[in-house]
């Protein structure tokens, strides 16, 4: 930073004042001092001034000090004797010290300033790179690069033109300095342009050797290395974001593909089975005149049952799809969990028959945020499940208790239990218990639907089971207070 004129004048004034003070001191206080001591004192003061205020001040001071030395301390006193060689030696000594010391200190100061500027630039580049690598995808990255540049490098405006998108990303409105045409032109020239007087700088952004776009900044000029580093960082960040995005897409596509295949297999089997029964029954009825009345009745009964099964399957698959797609609107209201349990038990009244059902609800349970009709569907599914898969003389136990911000509702049966490999599959669509497939009618959609309903509430469904001891299906529902504290 250049010192102002006033500051300069002050520096000269102070330098002359020092010469005056030294002269005054030795003339008045120590009049008996010898000339060498005075000369050394001048020399030291010139050294000090040259180090602090530079060459101009110290050279002027040297001249003044030479005259003062000659006039006041060299015989003949009170007279300027230009011809005296002592004079010349003193002047030369003062000037050499002034010039050398000022130059040394100036270069030291310059180096220190350069070093701190470099440090600042590196720090900015580091912050810039951090800012860029935080972006998870290319779109987000592109929309923050210019803002990052303006924030981090304190330039007035920044614009990034990308060839593959044919689009300019700007920190602000279009400015005449950073117009789209210039950005495109730089991209074609593939060389940086520094317009120092106008404070504009253009830089091609390279990915390897390929130019992929142009970066333009205006407002202040950044060092060339910094600008080039910014370009490289942008290229790396874009490559990185693109790779991350692609990885995510590939992974999602692969999982989606697997799921579709598994689902298609399951749907094929689930639909083909009733279709097979129906087709065989119908073709038999059509082609076999020898059927007796009871056989005809049996075949028609099968057709009737299997069309019901197909209908149920289609309905449940539709509901599952709606739940999966998040298209089911929940009417969440605070209710005691007892509402859900009693509604479910009422619904299962007929199918439970004489089975003993124990209900244990912990005292002082907070209300849950729940769509009672939907939650009832889920709990009914668990109760029906326990009812179907455990011997009728064994009780079913329903419990509800608080666990953190959730109420946990469990349905325990004393059936044969579910072994480990099956536990993982049991919530899968169309899966049916391997021993139960022989005897129990079902579509394999009940538990997945129950699970989806619970998850739509923000809860989770889980299963613990022990062989020959029975199974416990549990699900959580968020309590009303939890919603209030975490809006």
């Amino acid at each position: 930073m250049r010192p102002s004129i006033l500051n300069r004048i002050l520096h000269f004034a102070v330098a002359f004042a020092i010469v005056f003070a030294i002269t005054l001191f030795y003339r008045r206080v120590l009049p008996s001092v010898n000339a060498t001591t005075v000369a050394l004192t001048f020399l030291l003061s010139i050294l000090a001034v040259s180090t602090i205020w530079g060459m101009a001040v110290s050279v002027a001071m040297s001249v003044v000090a030479t005259f003062a030395f000659d006039f006041f301390f060299l015989p003949p006193m009170g007279k300027i004797t230009i011809a005296d060689p002592q004079n010349w030696i003193a002047l030369i000594a003062f000037l050499v010290v002034a010039v050398l010391a000022s130059r040394l200190s100036t270069s030291a100061r310059q180096q220190a300033a350069d070093a701190s500027a470099r440090e600042r630039d590196i720090e900015r580049l580091y912050r810039f790179s951090q800012g860029l690598l935080e972006s998870g995808n290319v779109m987000e990255l592109l929309n923050r690069i210019h803002a990052q540049i303006v924030d981090t490098f304190e330039v007035g405006a920044a614009a990034l033109f990308l060839a593959d998108k044919q689009k300019v990303y700007r920190s602000g409105p279009v400015t005449p300095q950073l117009d789209t045409e210039s950005l495109k032109a730089i991209m074609v020239r593939a060389e940086p342009v520094f317009d120092v007087p106008n404070g504009i700088c253009f830089l091609p952004v390279r990915m390897g050797v390929r130019v992929i776009g142009t970066l333009g900044t205006s407002g202040s000029i950044l060092p060339r290395q910094t600008v080039e580093a910014i370009g490289t960082l942008i290229a790396i960040a874009m490559e990185h974001a693109r790779a991350v995005e692609q990885l995510g897409q590939t992974e999602a596509a692969r999982q989606g593909e697997q799921l579709r295949t598994a689902l298609l297999d399951a749907v094929t089997h689930a639909l083909r089975t009733p279709l097979t029964s129906i087709k065989a029954s119908v073709t038999n009825l059509l082609s076999n005149p020898g059927l007796v009345e009871s056989q005809k009745h049996e075949l028609l009964t099968i057709i009737n049952e299997e069309t019901d099964r197909l209908n149920r399957l289609v309905g449940e698959a539709g509901e599952m799809a709606r739940l999966d797609a998040g298209e089911v609107e929940l009417r969440l209201e605070p209710h005691p969990i007892e509402d859900v349990i009693s509604a479910s038990l009422a619904h299962c009244h007929t199918s439970l028959g004489n089975r003993v059902v124990n209900v244990h609800v912990a005292g002082n349970l907070p209300m849950v945020r729940v769509d009672v009709a939907r939650a009832r569907e889920a709990l009914v599914q668990l109760i029906e499940n326990a009812n179907q898969y455990s011997p009728p003389d064994r009780p079913i136990t329903i419990t509800a208790e608080l666990n953190g911000n959730f109420v946990v509702t469990s349905v325990a049966d004393r059936g044969s239990g579910i072994d480990d490999p099956e536990q993982a599959l049991i919530f899968e669509k169309f899966y049916r218990g391997k021993d139960q497939r022989y005897s129990v009618q079902g579509t394999g959609m009940g538990l997945p639907i129950a699970k989806a309903i619970v998850e739509a509430h923000g809860g989770a469904m889980s299963l613990t089971s022990q062989h020959d001891r029975g199974s416990v299906f549990s699900f959580t529902l968020p309590i009303e207070r939890a919603r209030a504290t975490h809006p």
Binding site: T283, S287, N288, L291
Partner: protein, 237 residues
Amino acid sequence: MTSAKVLIVDDEPQIRRVLRTTLASHGYTVVEARSGDEALEEIRHERPDLILLDVNMPGRSGLETCSEIRTASDVPIIMLTVRNSERDKVQALDAGADDYVVKPFGVEELMARIRAALRRVAPAESIPPFLSADLKIDFEKRTVLVKGQPVRLTPKEFELLRQLVANQGKAMAHRRLLQAVWGPDYGEETEYLRVFINQLRKKIEPDPRNPRYITTEPWIGYRFERPHSGKSANKSD
């Protein structure tokens, strides 16, 4: 009306119900099994004349069950499968099934397949035994000896071999072989022949990859011939 005993093996109760009624209405005696393990048990006790075997069953699959049955019995097996792909059909035949029916099927088709599978072609004309250095086939006693060792053939394999030997030296067209062995409703199922010829070659050829008895007639069919000594035979397909 026959009174052959059919074992139905399927895990789906409704399918067993339909098949039970259908087969009973066509005069068959019906036994049921819900799984591969049950089927193996039933075969020992009931000695069925034919097995309808579902491919997709939990636990021991239909294919495994089929291979297991084949280790001890030549009983005709018809597989019930839901997937109508070439690979699945070949897998079923490879496992030792005589035939397969794709679900959902019409009853007429199933009955035709059952009749064909049960059909044991009566030896109308008796064929003299085939004797060579390493292969001896006695059609009267239904025995095959390869290098002196008895080899077990399924009825369909034996019937196929019989047709080929009876027309020794002549190229037998696919359709003719299929109709002769499986019945008049067949003709397009060349994959059956491919699988069964492969199995026959594995059983009777000294080098199944380089067959000398049963050779392939490209685009036409197959031919059985007495190997020419010293001359290498046609490549298998």
